[in-house]
């Protein structure tokens, strides 16, 4: 009996040691600040320890205001690329983001320093007034932005967001392909993290809380 108990305690010690080592190793990755991406559990979010600063870009929001690099400064921004004629992925994602925003608003720090931006890759059909009607439905704080192809390509390229608009002459319902990720930019306008689908409001808000706390810790 004693022998079994001894073996068990040795095994438990080994397990505990392994867990500690794994913890130290993960903490090291956080501290290293190299270019390696850290994959948090469930792969909901990929966090970049060395966030890439974005360079100048210019788009227009649903109230015909300029949306550029300065618009990102001082706020955490959640960016999603899509188009309003999208029946499945876009409304699903925007509904999730609206719930995520509600969750974040309940945190002590609140939602004052966050913004959600829907970037239409289909400026041909998505005018400012259409975008306004669209984003307002999900959350009146959401921004709808777009621009010409070169302007959209600039920002999309910096984030590695793939999209393709397959317009054919005389075709009313042309297909639009777009990335399904939600990009997280930090208040210094750096590409900080990316959420990958399937998107979940609770997962996004919980992960964001951790990211914001980590960043606040880094800043002090």
């Amino acid at each position: 009996m004693q022998q079994i108990a001894l073996k068990f305690s040795i095994m438990m010690t080994a397990v505990a040691l392994a867990a500690m080592l794994a913890g130290v190793w993960l903490a090291d990755i956080y501290r290293e600040h190299d270019s390696r991406a850290v994959l948090l559990p469930n792969q909901v979010i990929t966090l970049f320890p060395d966030p890439k600063p974005l360079t100048a870009f210019a788009l227009t929001d649903h109230k015909n205001r300029v949306f550029d690099l300065a618009s990102l400064k001082g706020k955490w921004s959640f960016l999603f690329f899509g188009f309003t004629h999208c029946p499945d992925i876009c409304p699903t994602t925007l509904a999730v983001l609206a719930r995520a925003r509600d969750n974040i608003a309940k945190y002590t720090v609140g939602a004052e320093d966050i913004q959600f931006v829907f970037i239409s890759v289909d400026p041909n059909r998505d005018t400012a007034s259409k975008l306004r009607q669209y984003v307002d439905y999900f959350d009146t704080t959401f921004l709808g932005v777009t621009g010409n192809d070169a302007q959209i390509r600039n920002l999309a390229g910096q984030l590695g967001a793939a999209y393709q608009v397959a317009i054919k002459p005389g075709m009313e319902n042309y297909p639009v392909y777009h990335s399904t990720a939600v990009f997280l930019l930090d208040p210094r306008a750096r590409y900080h993290a990316v959420f990958t689908p399937p998107h979940d409001a609770e997962a996004i808000s919980r992960r964001f809380k951790v990211v914001r706390e980590l960043e606040a810790g880094n800043a002090t």
């Binding site: 004629h85 499945d88 992925i89 669209y134 999209y163 319902n173």
Partner: protein, 143 residues
């Protein structure tokens, strides 16, 4: 996370709830709903859990609705990092197989609603199977 999804939760709970919403010829449909869209939008999507309770294959070949100009069976797939929609010309349900139409996967693409639809509105969509079986399904618009 995936299991948190309402569709999956409904599937798990389904056997304990009321009988199937629609059932004919051994094909049953549960949790049929349409996502409400912002006003003025002409593209909507319908979701459901489809089950073939028979001992032979059932092939879904088309869908139509008096509430929409066009209904198509689509599937969202992610390829080269981009979401795209593919038209599914038919879907085979093997004996006792279930198929879930859910956000990010199979869905009924509903184009040009005849009148504006808001949460709570009922809409009938007819599912057409090979061999002539037509199953009218009551969908509910949900926010």
């Amino acid at each position: 996370m995936r299991w948190r999804h309402p569709v999956f939760v409904c599937l798990i709970l389904a056997p304990t709830l009321v009988p199937a919403a629609s059932e004919e010829g051994g094909v049953s449909v549960r949790d049929a709903w349409i996502r409400e869209t912002p006003p003025g939008m002409t593209m909507m999507a319908g979701y459901m859990a489809l089950r073939n309770n028979t001992s032979r294959s059932q092939v879904l070949v088309a869908a139509s609705s008096p509430g929409f100009a066009t209904v198509m069976i689509h599937r969202t797939i992610v390829k080269d990092g981009m979401a795209r929609m593919e038209h599914a010309s038919q879907i085979e349900l093997t004996p006792n197989a279930s198929l879930i139409f859910a956000p990010g996967g199979y869905h009924l693409m509903l184009m040009s609603p005849i009148r504006p639809l808001r949460a709570g509105d009922p809409v009938v969509i007819n599912l057409e199977f090979r061999g002539g079986l037509v199953l009218p399904v009551a969908f509910e618009v949900r926010k």
